[in-house]
Symmetry: C2
Subunit: 289 residues, 2 copies
């Protein structure tokens, strides 16, 4: 069984109404009149963060990637559970964790610590409650909707280059910020929403497939936080955690957002970039390790 | 910062009313008129399971250890989220996961899959709802209460020996069963409850400390599933997932259970075993990796 077959097997197993697309999306569980939003993301040393990267930044990112999943559901974070394998500098991890939890004003509710015998692996579960119901999904875009992004992409790419080279500002890569307030403001108005964790083009492709539409994206309309000659890279790099959403034409978005394209009836490919068909096999972004 | 200091730092951070003793106990979160019970346990290859152990058994155990935490709260399981690092035989893992989820009748709600560069690490988050409120904790034993265990300890030890030697029945070690129905039946009657994951004596010690009492335990009263000469080992081995609980004298427990001792005013040690004082430093059980 290869990795994709494994994920497909889990998807087939996850038939409960609360389960969404396994490995992609939060679960939404109805409990006591509330819609709980649940997500769990793992990170491994040498795969999702650099060996020797500051553990405080790793902690920050671990919290942010999970809170960003809640943000894309318009959820209010209620707490997190940490799965922690002891590493090289646990006290720096505590510092970063404390900073991130304070930034998002979200409590640590519990978790587990273990010893391992190899590279560090970390997990975090975030729990929130939907502030608007139904919570937006990635599957609701309709032909005719406009496609928006809440801010520029490419900032994390520039930050990563700075971290690797030791010159420049790595903040955008090391301390990404999940857009919780924006997600809550948008939730009542969008037809589909997700966070851009793996690259604008790849995640747009996923939203198109989940919604059964084709997105026509105009490259020059995409706001980037990178030099113009790196526009293509900026649209393929992840880790920015901007929100990607669709809404009917005529909506005045309640938070800053840029229209970058439009949803069409499903065509030959999930994406058309300046008229050229694109799909996952074209190397659109970061394919999950 | 050493590992204990790290755990202490997390405990100090976890001040939310929903948070219980970090690394020990489930979180209990009030949402929409329900008390949600949340737990997350991790397991690492070569630490919590043998390298080369059947991944189906690993999946079963990962589910069971988390569901057992819910059982000790008298909670009804609502679902699980899986954090999965790809391993050597992912299809066997899927088989065991499916069997365990079917056994507990609990849905897979979501999760994450990652690639790693070393030994496999796994995480599972289980979510339940308390069927009795307040949900029992390990901290409620009162002097005068009787201390009970729901069944024999040592079965997993015998099963482990069978697995290592390749002879005999390893079922009790490989396929432990969390006592969900028993936990729900007991919840309204107990003053304290927890599952025995790390050994009867060590976990009794933890309950005594959390409750501020001393337990006087009579070794010969402890039911064991092992030869008599291994009674001491059986009381120190974990992985049986029996429930340990206290109740006022005079209770007729609603499920099979054996009284093994009594709670006293706090004395020189958290435990008295046949009159001898014992504490954690005496090697009472499996100290968590």
């Amino acid at each position: 069984m290869n990795e994709l077959a494994f994920i497909e097997a889990l998807r087939r197993m996850a038939t409960h109404p609360a389960a969404r697309h396994f490995d992609d999306d939060c679960a939404v569980l109805e409990v006591g009149g509330e819609a709980l939003v649940l997500t769990h993301d793992m990170m491994a040393e040498g795969v999702h963060y650099l060996e020797g990267q500051d553990p405080a930044d790793v902690a920050w990112k671990l919290v942010s990637v999970n809170i960003s999943d809640l943000a894309a559901k318009g959820a209010e974070p209620l707490g997190v559970l940490l799965g922690y394998m002891f590493g090289k500098d646990d006290s720096r991890f505590v510092e970063g964790l404390e900073q991130a939890l304070a930034y998002y004003d979200v409590p640590l509710l519990g978790g587990d610590t273990i010893s391992g015998k190899g590279p560090q692996a970390l997990g975090l579960t975030a729990i929130g409650r939907a502030t608007h119901r139904p919570a937006p999904s990635r599957g609701g875009a309709q032909p005719g909707d406009l496609l928006y992004v809440t801010g520029p992409v490419g900032a994390a790419m520039i930050g990563y280059d700075a971290l690797k080279s030791g010159a420049g500002d790595s903040e955008a890569y090391c301390r990404p910020r999940a857009l919780v307030a924006q997600g809550q403001a948008l939730a009542p108005h969008v037809t589909a929403m997700m966070d851009i964790s793996d690259g604008l083009l790849l995640d747009s492709c996923r939203m198109a497939r989940a919604s059964g539409v084709t997105f026509a994206i105009e490259a020059n309309a995409v706001p980037i936080a990178a030099p113009e000659q790196r526009r293509g890279d900026a649209m393929r790099w992840g880790d920015d955690y901007q929100l990607l959403f669709t809404a009917p034409a005529g909506l005045d978005p309640p938070v800053p957002a840029t229209a970058i394209g439009q949803a069409l009836d499903p065509g030959e490919a999930p994406l058309m970039l300046d008229g050229d068909p694109l799909s996952e096999k074209d190397g659109l972004g970061f394919q999950h390790g």
